[in-house]
Symmetry: C2
Subunit: 100 residues, 2 copies
């Protein structure tokens, strides 16, 4: 499935991806720096398979990108949604969600 950040994708659809405790926590971590799955999960403490599903949701929405790093996978915030100014916000195109 392609990236959801295009002209067709509604703002509500993208906000829905953001509107989850786990996924928000992941994004907040990746706003600081790229991390491996295990590292992300260290502070979450949920089942790895569940995190994997959430990461897929984030990927398909175009909010994060994954790249293999040995037998691990490194996740980072997608460049398209990165807020270069503050580094504390996520740019969904339709709206900007800024955290404190």
């Amino acid at each position: 499935m392609p990236c959801k950040i295009d002209t067709k994708t509604s703002c509500a659809t993208l906000l829905k991806v953001l509107a989850d405790e786990t996924r928000l926590a992941v994004l907040r971590q990746l706003m600081k720096r790229p991390k491996h799955v295990a590292e992300i999960n260290a502070t979450l403490g949920i089942e790895q398979t569940l995190l994997s599903h959430h990461l897929k949701t984030l990927r398909e929405a175009g909010l994060v990108v994954a790249q293999r790093d040995g037998k691990a996978v490194l996740y980072s915030l997608a460049p398209e949604v990165e807020d270069t100014r503050s580094g504390k916000a996520i740019n969904l195109g339709c709206c900007l969600v800024s955290f404190k």
Copy 2:
């Protein structure tokens, strides 16, 4: 049910309220000015009873406030979430959602 904008309410819970096409459309209208239910629905074209349910959700989340006006009801953006600077954003406490 009380207002959901308090310290206990998670950001995800509030974002979930925002993450709906209809509710977003309503908020965008109310960011401009207060409106009656019928006026809100004029541009939405959904069943009135359905809009009423969405308005309830917005009310319970503390995003909008309602006041009777004759036999109509006037809705406005809740003062707590209003962004006094831009007038184009919604302040959820945990984060600020700004539109273009």
